[in-house]
Homo-oligomer: 377 residues x 2
C-alpha cells in the first residue's frame, strides 16, 4: 500500500539513481517532450531551498516550549535523543522547494522571497503528518533514525505534531502578504485531505482483498501523497499573484506528480532490489499491503487475480514470495502501474505547461517532478 | 491532578449545585463585590450561545470527509457509534459563550454576531484537544459515553482531532472580519500552550512526589485549563475592536477563572461526595495524581508532607485512603487550594473590571465565571 505520506519521498531521496524499468519513459514520454536537461538541477534547487527556509523553520521550532521543542529538534534531525547536536537529516525539503520554485516561475525572485514563510508553513504541516502517521502506523524508523514516538513516547509525539500544525497556521496568520489568507485556507483544507488519505489507508488495510476498488486506492493515494505536493505548488502560485486557473493548474501538476511518485514507489515495494531499498524483496507483499499494483492486479478479472486474492486472504507464513510476485505480474499489476505512472507524469507536464508555457521558466518544477519520481531500486 | 482540560468542565456542568465549602466565598469575596444576581443567568447565556454556534459548528463538521465526520459527530454527541442520531450532549459551550459574551460586552450585539465563526473555531480547538487528550491519557469515558478512540480506534481519533484543528483555522482564515487574523494568531499560540500544558502534565505524572514544585503545577494548570478560557475571551474582545490592554485584561480574567475552576475541581477530586461526583472518594489520591492540593501539601515543609510523600512513593494498594486524605489536610493542602481559588477569582474579577468597569455589561461574564467554578460535590 501507499506508504506513510512522505516517508516514501524521503526514502526516495536517499536511494541512488538506478535501474527501474520504464523510468526514462516516465520522465520523457510526455506532452511536453523531454526534460530540459540544461535546466536547473533538482539538487541545486533543493539546496537553495534549504538555505532560504532553514532559518525561519528553526526560529519557528525554537519558539516552542521546552518539551515539544526537544521532540521537534530530534524529529528534524538537528539533535540526538539526548539533546546533543546532530548533523541533521531533515529530509530534502521537496515541498518548500515546490512552493518557492512555483512562486519564482510565476512571479519572479520577489515572489520567491515573499513565499519563504509560506514554504516553512507547508514543511511544518508535512512534518506534523509524519509525526502522527508514525504513531498511527507504529513505524519505528524514519530517515534512518528511530521515530519520535519510540524515543519520547506516544503523547509527546502527538503533542509535537499538534504544535507543528499550530505553528504552520500561526506563520501564515502573521504573514502580512495579501496571499497569506488564501494560502491558510488552502493549507487547512489540505490537512483535512491528508487526514482523509491516512484514514482511508488504515481502513483499507483492515478490509479483505476483494473489498478494495482501484478507484478507492487511487483516491487514497492522491489524498495522502498528491494533495500536499499540489498544495505546495498552489501556495507558491498564490504568492506570485497567479490567476485562479494557474493556481489550479499547478495544484493539479503537483497532485499528478505525487501520484506518479506513489505508483513508482509501490512498484519498488514489490520489485525493488533489496540491496538498494534496504528492505527484503516483496516486503509490501509479505505485509499484505494493498498497494496500487496489487489492487490493480486483484481487480483485473484475470485468473491470476483469483490466485492473488487467495494468497492475500491468508497472513504471510514466511514462505517464498515469488508466487505472489508472479501473480501480481501475471494479473497485469506491474504493467498497469508503470503505464499509470507514465500517464500521470504526462498529465503533470500538461498541467504545468498550461500554467507556465515557457519551458525555461518551468524548468525548475520539471526538475523537481523528475526528482521525486526518480526511483531506482 | 488536573484533569484532561475540560473533561473537568463538562463534568462540572452536570453536577448539581451543592455544598462545597468556600464556594460562596469564592464567588463573592472579590474586589467587585457580590455577583449581580439580577444579571443574566449562565444557563440562558449558554443556551443562546448554542443556538448561535450550532449551525456553523455542524456545517463545519459536515464538510469533513466521511470517516472523520463519523468520529466528530459521535464525539459531539450527535450520533451513536452506529451512526444513528443521538440526542446530543456536546458539552455546555462554555468557551464559545466566553467569546460571544466578551464580544457583546465590549462591542454590543453587532460584535457578538460577527464573532460567531470565531466562537466555533475556539470550540473546534477545544474538542480537538479533548479527542487527543483522551488518546494520550487512555481515558475511556467522556460526557457519559465511551471516548472516540475506544469506539473508532486510536488512528481515527487522532485524525479527527487533527482535522478539527485544521477546520478551526480554516474558519478564521475564511473570515473577512478585520480581527480574524489576530484571532488566528492568538488561537494558534493557545494551541501550543495547551499542548505544553498536556505535555508537562504527563511528564509530571511520571516523576516522584518530591520532584514537582507548586510553581510548576500551577503553570501547568494555567496552560492546560486557563489558556483556552483566556483565549476565548481575548478573541471575543478582538472581534469587538477592543484595545490591546482590554484584550489582555479579559485574557487574564479567563485564565484566572480557569485556574480557580481547576483548584476547585482538584479539591472535589479528593473531598467530593462520591454520591454526587460518581467517582469513589479520594479517586485522585488512589491514582497518586499530583493535583494542586497534593503538591501544595507535599511542598509545605510540614511533618504531614513527609508522611504524604511516603504514602505517594508506593502505588495505591487498595486500602483505606483516609490517612492520605488527612495527610493532605494536615499539611494544609485543602486550605491552600480554597484560599488560592478565592484569590484567583478575586484576580479574575479585578481583571474583568479593568476591561469592563460597568457591572451590568460585565454581568454575563461574571455569571459564566461563577458557573465554571460552581462546583459542589
Amino acid at each position: 500500500m501507499t506508504e506513510s505520506i512522505t516517508q516514501s519521498l524521503t526514502d526516495a531521496e536517499r536511494r541512488p539513481v538506478g535501474t527501474l524499468e520504464g523510468r526514462h519513459s516516465i520522465a520523457t514520454d510526455t506532452d511536453s517532450g523531454p526534460l530540459p536537461l540544461d535546466g536547473p538541477e533538482a539538487g541545486v534547487i533543493l539546496e537553495r531551498t534549504r538555505a532560504s527556509v532553514d532559518p525561519e523553520l528553526r526560529a519557528a521550532i525554537e519558539s516552542l516550549p521546552d518539551g515539544m521543542r526537544r521532540v521537534a529538534r530530534y524529529h528534524f534531525g538537528w539533535e540526538h535523543a539526548d539533546g546533543t547536536p546532530a548533523a541533521g537529516n531533515a529530509g530534502k525539503a521537496i515541498r518548500p522547494a515546490l512552493v518557492l520554485t512555483t512562486a519564482a516561475a510565476l512571479g519572479g525572485p520577489g515572489a520567491r522571497a515573499a513565499a519563504v514563510r509560506a514554504a516553512v508553513a507547508v514543511e511544518l504541516v508535512h512534518n506534523f503528518t509524519l509525526l502522527h502517521d508514525d504513531v498511527m502506523d507504529r513505524d519505528t524508523t524514519r530517515r534512518h533514525r528511530s521515530t519520535a514516538w519510540t524515543v519520547f513516547g506516544v503523547p509527546d509525539a502527538i503533542l509535537a505534531g499538534d504544535a507543528l500544525q499550530a505553528l504552520a497556521q500561526r506563520l501564515l496568520a502573521q504573514d502580512p502578504h495579501p496571499a497569506a489568507g488564501a494560502a491558510a485556507v488552502r493549507l487547512a483544507a489540505c490537512v483535512v485531505e491528508l487526514c482523509e488519505g491516512q484514514q482511508v489507508d488504515t481502513a483499507m488495510e483492515r478490509r479483505g482483498p476483494a473489498d478494495v476498488t482501484l478507484d478507492q486506492v487511487l483516491a487514497m493515494a492522491e489524498a495522502k501523497t498528491g494533495a500536499l505536493l499540489g498544495c505546495a505548488c498552489a501556495v507558491g502560485a498564490l504568492y506570485a499573484g497567479a490567476s485562479a486557473a494557474d493556481v489550479e493548474a499547478v495544484d493539479a501538476f503537483g497532485r499528478e506528480a505525487g501520484l506518479a511518485f506513489q505508483l513508482i514507489d509501490d512498484v519498488i515495494g514489490i520489485w525493488g532490489d533489496p540491496s538498494r531499498t534496504g528492505k527484503p524483496a516483496g516486503a509490501d507483499l509479505a505485509a499484505r499491503k494493498k498497494s496500487l499494483p496489487v489492487v490493480a492486479a486483484l481487480t483485473s478479472g484475470t485468473p491470476a487475480a483469483v490466485e492473488l486474492a487467495e494468497l492475500y486472504e491468508a497472513p504471510y507464513d514466511g514462505g517464498d514470495l515469488e508466487p505472489t510476485v508472479l501473480a501480481v505480474e501475471r494479473a497485469g499489476g506491474r504493467d498497469w502501474a508503470q503505464a499509470q505512472a507514465s500517464d500521470r507524469m504526462a498529465r503533470a507536464m500538461h498541467e504545468l505547461s498550461r500554467a507556465i508555457p515557457d519551458p525555461e521558466a518551468a524548468g525548475g518544477l520539471l526538475a523537481l517532478a523528475e526528482f521525486v519520481t526518480r526511483r531506482s531500486s
